[in-house]
Every structure is written in structure tokens, then in C-alpha cells.
Symmetry: C2
Subunit: 173 residues, 2 copies
């Protein structure tokens, strides 16, 4: 693995955090990174719900089946899409744009020395409804994914999961 | 913008390239970066169709309405999803996973000194069918997005597109 790409290979799913809060400056940087992702036809449908209130993080942990680490995390960010703002009002483009933003935010967290993990929301109806109710989201706003973030209390090795059978060259077979 | 995050802010859509081919080593690094993205429940449904044959790049340029730069690009990579391999065989999870892989590849290209641009495929039926026919993709393989890559012949400033109205804190309103 090319060591120049450590910002990418070194990003791992980090689920354990110290009690140290995330600086406001770093929160702003995470959002700037998210919004630096490309977007179909420059529509930028992604919206960012930043959660630092303990009671809300705990409630979110109850909604997400694999989200128990949010009870220890100082920061959660839910990336939502505004379907009306998406190119061609397409769910597919909205999901693609929001996912690129989430990935940028995960990489930015790693580069800033933070740890983060992507928690799936869409397309699970009960998670979508739970979040829509908890945060009173408008009709056109759809939660896509949540990110749990903090200062890491675990370390993982850099890696890629590439397998030769994922690669095709100039033709499929 | 935090200068540590230049790998993210410096990635821009690069549509003009020199005639220099992309090294095989860099192609491998791009794929390793793509496969280092997280995937819902570790299913890794992304598949990578690497295109270096001039006639195929030209044919792909004809299929994608905004893909004319592929006629000059030495490298194209189509990221496809295997819907059968995706978590819960869900199109949403498949699109999210493939999009995170595409974003990783765009960032890796930038870090390696290459230039790249994401060309939308899914959900446009005529683009999906055109690619499926050209490369004889199996039924379960769905093209999500294409990337045009080369050595950059244009330069763009680092940036973020973040607008304050995209941000919500602890509640929507």
C-alpha cells in the first residue's frame, strides 16, 4: 500500500472514545470536509445535523441497533438529504452525494486524529422514522447515515479490503 | 479551512489531462483506496471495471452525456455494485458503499498527483443499459458511477462548498 495514501488506508471504524469533547474548530472542519465532496450537477443536497447534547446522543443510540457507542461519544452527526434539492429529485443521486460527504467526514476525522464510525440509517424504515420523530425533520429531509465521533480509545491497523476478484480489466470476463 | 485537510479540499473535478498514461502501480493504489472504504455489514459489493483500451474509452464517452473528456483520458474506472453481495441485497446500501469507494478513489487520485472526475451513471437507464451492453455485465452487476482519470492539464483552487444553512445543531429548527 502506497504510504502517501495513509489518510485513506488508516481510516478505520472506531467505536471507543475517551471522554474528551471534540473542539468546535474540528466540528467545523468536519463539516467543511463533508461539503467538499462532489455532488451530481452541483446540487449539494446534503444537510448536517450536529448532535452534542448527551440526552439526544443517548436517544439516537436507542434508535440505531448498532449505535450503542453513541452513549460514550461526545459527538454525533447525522447526514440527511433534501430530496427536493437533489439532482432530478432522485433518491439515487441523493444517496450517492450524501455517501460521498459521509466518507469525506470519516477521512477528515482520521486526519484530525479523531475516531469515527458510520452507522447505517437509510433504507431502514424504523431508523428513518425514529430519527425523523426525534429531531422533527421536515417531510423532504431524509436521514441517510449517522456518524459517531470522538477522540479514539482504540487503535487499528491501516488496511485495504481489495480482493483480486473485484477487479475486471477492459471486459467483464 | 484546516491545511491538514488539503487532501480533501484540494480534490476538484479535473476534466483535462496530458497524454501521459497512468502507471500500473497507481491504478493498483486507486483500487486499494476504493476498497478501503467502509461497507454496510462488511459486505463489500463494489466491483471495479478498469478501462485503458482507447476504443472502449471512446465508446464509454459516447454513452455518458458529460463524458467527452474520456476521449482524452488514459484511464476510466467504472464502479459497479453486485446487488446480490450487498447487505440485505439493498440497492440503497449498494449505492452508499459504491459511492464511498468512488470518493476514496477521487481523493487517492488527487493525493497521487492525478486528476479525476466522477461521471454519474445510476439511476439513468440509458447509461446503465449502454454500459451493461458494452461490457456484457452479468444481470446482478449494476454500474453506479464512472471515473475519468489522467495526469492533470488544469489546476483548480482548494475549496469547500459548505453553507451555514446546511448545518443544524441538536434540533432541526
Amino acid at each position: 500500500m502506497n504510504p502517501k495514501l495513509e489518510p485513506i488506508f488508516g481510516r478505520r471504524s472506531i467505536r471507543r472514545y475517551t471522554s474528551q469533547p471534540v473542539d468546535e474548530e474540528d466540528i467545523q472542519s468536519l463539516l467543511e470536509a463533508a461539503a467538499a465532496a462532489p455532488s451530481a450537477r452541483g446540487c449539494y443536497p446534503a444537510r448536517f445535523l450536529v448532535i452534542t447534547e448527551r440526552s439526544l446522543l443517548n436517544s439516537l443510540a436507542e434508535i440505531l441497533p448498532y449505535g450503542s457507542m453513541l452513549k460514550e461519544a461526545p459527538l454525533g452527526i447525522i447526514v440527511c438529504g433534501n430530496i427536493e434539492a437533489a439532482h432530478a429529485q432522485s433518491l439515487s443521486y441523493m444517496l450517492q452525494d450524501c455517501s460521498a460527504s459521509i466518507e469525506n467526514m470519516l477521512l477528515a476525522a482520521h486526519i484530525l486524529g479523531l475516531g469515527a464510525v458510520w452507522l447505517g440509517v437509510h433504507p431502514r424504515k424504523e431508523r428513518i422514522e425514529g430519527i425523523k420523530n426525534l429531531f422533527k425533520l421536515p417531510e423532504s429531509i431524509l436521514p441517510v447515515g449517522a456518524i459517531s465521533i470522538g477522540h479514539p480509545a482504540e487503535k487499528k491497523e491501516s488496511r485495504t479490503m481489495l480482493k483480486p476478484e473485484q477487479i475486471h480489466r477492459n471486459q467483464w470476463l
